[in-house]
């Protein structure tokens, strides 16, 4: 139990997908202009990561590994992810048209969000069992959502701040992201301790 908790904290905070592994940066910069859009993106991505990593685990263990099809891993994973994204897109469009509007192009682009494939590949590398890998994927995506929401809040404030022209827009965004990553380093050591 304690191991699961530590593993999840590690995946969510210490080795945060965005701040420590630098995955999913395009959505991190793209969909964080408003808190609600970032939260929606976080939810959608959480869903996609969790579902696709479960499916990917099954594909890896029952198809790729037994038949020695390791070379097909990326292709099949992308196939699974793309389907999960399509499904999410249909759902979001049905359930929340305004959110669909806000996410815009970034919703179908979850397919190419490297965080999704990255987590799936990390799972394969980690050789985890089904339970652990699902929890790991879920915790990673919660960490992703958390950082997305935090960063969106900060960007909302930056939008009304008098940032010098030289730094306005993405530059100050990346500076903030780096300072945020520095702050998250405070958690380092928790999962090992």
């Amino acid at each position: 139990m304690k191991d699961y908790a530590l593993m999840m904290i590690g995946a969510a905070l210490v080795n945060n997908v965005i701040l420590a592994r630098f995955l999913g940066l395009c959505s991190f910069m793209g969909v964080t202009t408003r808190i609600d859009a970032a939260a929606g993106m976080g939810l959608a991505t959480t869903f996609v990561i969790t579902v696709s990593s479960m499916a990917d685990w099954a594909v890896q263990h029952y198809l790729l590994a037994p038949y020695g099809l390791g070379f097909l891993r990326t292709v099949t994973f992308i196939l699974v992810i793309a389907s999960a994204v399509q499904f999410t897109e249909l759902t979001v469009r049905k359930v929340s048209p305004p959110l669909f509007q806000m996410l815009g192009i970034y919703l179908p682009l979850i397919t190419t969000n490297c965080a999704v494939l990255g987590v799936a590949l990390l799972l394969v590398e980690g050789r985890m069992n089904f339970m652990t890998s699902t929890l790991f994927a879920f915790a990673s995506s919660v960490g992703y959502s958390l950082v997305m929401v935090i960063f969106a809040g900060q960007r909302e404030r930056l939008a009304v701040a008098a940032v010098p022209r030289l730094f306005a827009g993405p530059p100050i965004g990346f500076i903030v992201a780096s300072l945020l990553a520095m702050a998250f380093m405070g958690f380092s050591g928790i999962s090992t301790g």
């Binding site: 809040g153 404030r157 008098a162 300072l179 928790i190 301790g193």
Partner: protein, 357 residues
């Protein structure tokens, strides 16, 4: 200065005597006793480091303003850059080499503040940004503490020797005074498997009045707290953040200490060591990076406290105030956007009240 009549000025045509520089001056005055005590305790190297850090912070601000083509003097005179450098200096090891102060001071005002557009625009506390950057980049120098060696003591370095320490690093003559802060010591011992009951027996000496190894600002705990309380009474800050933060440290500490005293230190030790007091009264209360509403401030303070405790207890770093403050700084916009005051005639959700009630 009156403005030309052509552009109408809106009411009110009266203004409070309060001003930004008055606020900054009050904070500096509140910091002075603790700083002087630190100077006395750690001698000349501490004085030099303080001057270097404050100078670097102010210099960094001046250069940035110059580059942006803004007037330098009026902005520097508001005192915010000096205060940032001062707070940073209080959180550094007092005998740290000069470049720590320079790097930190510049980092604080340039990357912590001016790139955001200057005073009021930054998202993170500049002093803590610099401290965390230093801690991550130079862990050895940032955790090299010295035992207190009052300036009047015979063994203490004089003005010249002190200058050498600041410029060239620790001199062999003073190797004996190298020490560890209590939190760092306990953490190291715990990681070696020595429990607190054992390790605290030969821990670094803790003077009740603050005579112990640590940064300038962590030793004079009571003077810091006194300055903070004075600021509360002068209404420069409100009580919400300091109280919430101290409780946020004390409550989990007391609970876990009661469960396993061999592993978890007492609440009072937590409160009186490290940057807890400095953080609660002077750093977390920074207007710019903390929430605006009393309820938001309670959440913010409690968050700072709990995170400080969590990082101190379970994470890799012995001291967590700076990290905790930065983490809560990052949550401030979200706290502010969800915790708002109730508007007259509306409920908390912003919906108009029913006339019947």
């Amino acid at each position: 200065m009156t403005r030309p009549v052509e552009m109408p000025v809106a009411a009110p045509y009266a203004a409070t005597p309060n001003s930004v520089s008055r606020v900054m001056i009050i904070v500096m005055v509140a910091l002075t006793p603790a700083t002087l005590f630190g100077f006395w305790l750690y001698g000349w190297p501490a004085i030099y480091l303080w001057m270097i850090t404050v100078g670097a912070a102010a210099g960094g601000e001046a250069v940035c303003l110059q580059l942006q083509g803004r007037a330098v003097a009026p902005v520097l005179l508001d005192g915010s850059a000096v205060l940032t450098g001062w707070l940073l200096a209080l959180s550094l090891p007092p005998w740290a080499p000069w470049w720590i102060g320079v790097f930190g001071g510049l980092f604080a005002t340039v990357l912590g503040k001016q790139v955001f557009g200057g005073l009021g625009q930054n998202l993170f506390n500049p002093a803590m940004v610099a401290r965390v950057a230093l801690l991550i980049s130079f862990p050895v120098h940032m955790t090299a503490w010295v035992a207190p060696l009052p300036i009047v003591a015979a063994a203490a370095p004089g003005p010249i020797a002190g200058l050498l320490i600041t410029l060239k690093g620790m001199q062999p003559a003073f190797d004996t005074v190298a020490s560890a802060s209590l939190l760092g010591f306990a953490k190291t011992e715990l990681s070696r498997g020595v429990d607190l009951a054992q390790s605290l027996l030969h821990a670094p000496i803790q003077g009740w009045y603050g005579s112990r190894a640590g940064s300038l600002g962590e030793t004079a705990t009571w003077l810091i707290a006194g300055g903070g309380v004075a600021m509360i009474f002068l209404r420069t800050i409100t009580w919400h953040i300091p109280l919430a933060m101290l409780l946020g440290i004390a409550i989990p500490a007391a609970i876990l200490n009661a469960i396993d005293p061999a592993r978890y230190m007492e609440a009072s030790t937590h409160l009186l060591s490290g940057g807890a007091m400095l953080g609660a009264f002077f750093i977390a209360t920074d207007y710019v990076t903390s929430p605006n509403t009393p309820r938001g401030q309670l959440v913010f303070g409690a968050g700072c406290g709990v995170l400080t405790y969590v990082i101190r207890t379970w994470a890799g770093y012995p001291e967590g105030v700076a990290f905790a403050v930065l983490l809560m700084n990052s949550l401030t916009p979200i706290i502010d956007s969800y915790i708002r005051p109730r508007i007259y005639g509306r409920n908390r959700q912003g919906v108009a009240l029913e006339p019947g009630k």
